[in-house]
């Protein structure tokens, strides 16, 4: 009987079984950032412990950095957090991609960029979007701060194995349908808690054809579907992406690549569950509520609580609509927006900005809309400059900023004000997520955000940019 990638990685990384029955799992790579690590270093100091393998932990700063005057936060608390990370990395010998390194960025953009993220490895980070790294065939998941301490001290974690659900998407995506739509569609189908207890294996020809960056977009939002991790099996594309990156062993590359590929799920692997989705059923998808599974296609109407199947569903639709201040049963298309945000670890990579730049020439952001674009890392920003992308965005009326998490969770100065509604390429539409307790978030692909910015309202990018949607199949 064959094994899935998850089982292979789990079995090879198991150090032993603990008294409570959990597995002690070796963590190959540990990524840290300024928000969830200072307390962990504090705990190490209190216990008089060292970092076991300092070369296996990598740090960067992303959540609290301003995107204007990056290295001069006006906020004393942010400055203190940056200082704490610097000191902790120095004291414990951890590599830190700081603002001066030219390599700083969102931790989930930096790992792959540096070639730190590799197939067949375990990756942990005090951040739930660590699932992003699963795009490379790694088992990557978010952990709490006490566990950050555990990894620092022992390079291992006490964990329980997950079940594996294979999600197969086959067929052709229609024009104007992106990786972001695929994952929003999956979450809509399976629910925000559908993945609890599971790792998601994304398989099928749609993922086979996707670029590494698109795979990252999909894996990134596994957690929004309740799955602690998600992955795509490594293939030739994975190997090609990693070749030549700073942390990849170039001397024995062929051996390394062969080892990576050997982790892919066996053809006869057994899964705990299999879900099959037809690619042609996926449309550009947007959220209308306060949970990432509250999504609809751009041509649908906002749900009507009166049509809910259960009292629980009715209550949650009502709560979401009251918060979002959206009228039940009316089209989502045409809802006015105040802010547009393109960036985050979901959609802040070079291919995202290239794709949007293709369409926005000759267009202008609507009057009254604040539109900001935030590259996911300094390396992405430099590449954008080389290709002349910032100017294209500026000419169209977007603000071009420096790298960081920015308005994805608004721990820096980029925040919604009052009940502003934001068309956002990020991953969470929770109440208050973008910095204002009454701010509203509508999740969508970057090209859809650009269309919303230009029209001043939630729009079908296929119409505005003439993305030639074929006639719908009857």
């Amino acid at each position: 009987m064959g094994k899935s990638l998850f089982q292979k990685v789990w079995d090879t990384h198991a150090v032993g079984t603990l008294a409570d029955g959990r597995t002690q799992l070796f963590i190959g790579t540990h990524l840290i950032h300024e928000v969830t690590s200072p307390q962990a270093f504090g705990m190490l100091r209190d216990l008089g412990l060292k970092v076991k393998f300092p070369q296996r932990t990598f740090a960067t700063v992303d959540h609290i950095v301003p995107t204007e005057n990056q290295d001069a936060p006006q906020d004393p608390l942010a400055a203190e957090m940056m200082r704490a990370l610097r000191d902790n990395c120095d004291d414990f010998g951890v590599t830190y991609f700081d603002l001066k390194s030219g390599k700083q960025g969102i931790v989930h953009v930096v790992g792959p960029e540096q070639g730190i993220t590799q197939p067949g490895t375990t990756i942990a980070c005090g951040d739930s979007h660590t699932a992003t790294h699963g795009a490379f065939g790694a088992i990557a998941f978010g952990i709490g701060t006490t566990q950050v301490r555990d990894v620092l001290a022992s390079q291992t974690l006490a964990l329980e194995a997950l079940k594996v659900r294979r999600i197969e998407v086959n067929g052709d995506l229609r024009p104007g349908v992106y990786a972001k739509d695929v994952i929003l569609h999956i979450i809509r189908l399976l629910g925000a808690k559908g993945g609890i207890g599971f790792a998601y294996e994304y398989a099928g020809d749609v993922f086979d054809r996707m670029s590494m960056e698109e795979r990252m977009t999909v894996c990134n939002m596994s957690i929004e579907g309740g799955a602690r991790c998600g992955y795509v099996n490594p293939d030739a594309k994975t190997v090609a992406y990693l070749q030549g990156r700073p942390y990849v062993d170039s001397k024995n590359f062929d051996t390394t690549a062969a080892r990576w590929l050997s982790f892919a799920s066996d053809p006869d692997a057994v899964f705990d569950d299999i879900v099959r989705i037809n690619a042609a059923d996926i449309e550009p998808t947007v959220t209308w509520g306060i949970s990432p599974d509250q999504g609809i296609s751009i041509s649908e109407n906002i749900p009507d609580p009166a049509k809910s199947q259960t009292p629980g569903e009715k209550a949650s639709v009502e709560e979401a609509l009251a918060y979002m201040k959206l009228p039940a049963g009316t089209p989502i298309k045409g809802v006015k927006i105040d802010v547009a945000f393109i960036g985050s670890c979901t959609n802040g990579r070079i291919s995202d900005f290239r794709e949007v730049a293709k369409y926005i020439r000759g267009h202008q952001v609507a009057a009254g809309v604040k539109a900001i674009v935030v590259p996911g890392s300094q390396i992405v920003a430099v590449q954008c400059e080389k290709e002349g992308l910032p100017q294209i965005f500026r000419d169209a009326g977007f603000e071009w900023r420096a790298a960081g998490c920015s308005m994805c969770l608004a721990m820096n100065p980029d925040k919604l004000i009052g009940d502003q509604l934001c068309a956002s390429s990020s991953n969470r539409n929770f109440k208050g997520r973008q910095g204002s307790p009454t701010g509203r978030t509508v999740l969508m692909s970057p090209v859809m955000v650009a269309a919303a910015a230009i029209n001043g309202s939630i729009s079908d990018a296929r119409e505005l940019f003439e993305l030639k949607a074929e006639a719908a199949v009857a």
């Binding site: 504090g42 412990l49 951040d127 997520r433």
Partner: protein, 199 residues
């Protein structure tokens, strides 16, 4: 490192209705600008406890009848979203000792167990009955028996709850913080690092 076994926790309860209560709701991100967890308690559920002008809302945690509650009762998928330990830390520091919900998000669950705050799962019907009992008598003592996996009240409600066996085991044997056990396997860890080409 000998830890206190957690066999049961009890206290008065408060019911926070709604499914998918996420970690951004439990502790809004702006309160995470800190280098220690101290002081997080007062910000638990801040944005639903206070309106834009800083006035108290009618959130259950603002209801004086539930001011001393130490057992939190909730719906499905409690603690979803971020991995931030700031969420269970803020609940713990607010004064909660245990959570009873229909289901939990995994990372939140693990974080809470490591903080010796048991999280147990109950059926929707039992949660409903418990919420009604708390509403009828806010001074009702709710007991989570971690060892026997039952929840009971001083008024005679008594029902079975679930919890992964590893978490139950860890709590009742005082191994909820695994650090010492992890460190004890040092030579195995070192062997693994070499075997897997990590060093």
């Amino acid at each position: 490192m000998a830890l206190e076994p957690v066999l049961s926790v009890s206290g008065t309860g408060v019911f926070i209705p709604g499914a998918d209560i996420d970690t951004d709701r439990i502790i809004p991100a702006r309160f995470m600008k800190c280098v220690t967890f101290d002081g997080l308690g007062e910000f638990a559920f801040y944005d639903v406890r206070f309106d834009e002008h800083g006035n108290k809302t009618n959130h259950p945690l603002n209801d004086p009848r539930f001011a001393k509650a130490s057992i939190l009762v909730a719906g499905e998928n409690f603690g979803c979203g971020s991995s931030r330990e700031h969420a269970p830390q803020s609940l713990r520091k607010y004064g909660f000792n245990g959570v009873i919900a229909e289901s939990f998000a995994e990372i939140f669950y693990g974080n809470s167990t490591t903080l010796a705050m048991p999280c147990v799962m109950a059926s929707a019907a039992d949660i409903k009955a418990l919420a009604a009992a708390i509403e009828a008598d806010p001074n009702l003592i709710v007991k989570i028996d971690v060892d026997a996996l039952r929840v009971s009240t001083s008024t005679g409600l008594d029902f079975a709850v679930k919890m992964p066996e590893s978490a139950r085991e860890a709590l009742v044997t005082g191994r909820w913080d695994p650090i010492q056990e992890l460190l004890d396997n040092e030579s195995e860890i070192e062997k693994k690092a070499v075997e897997l080409h990590y060093v």
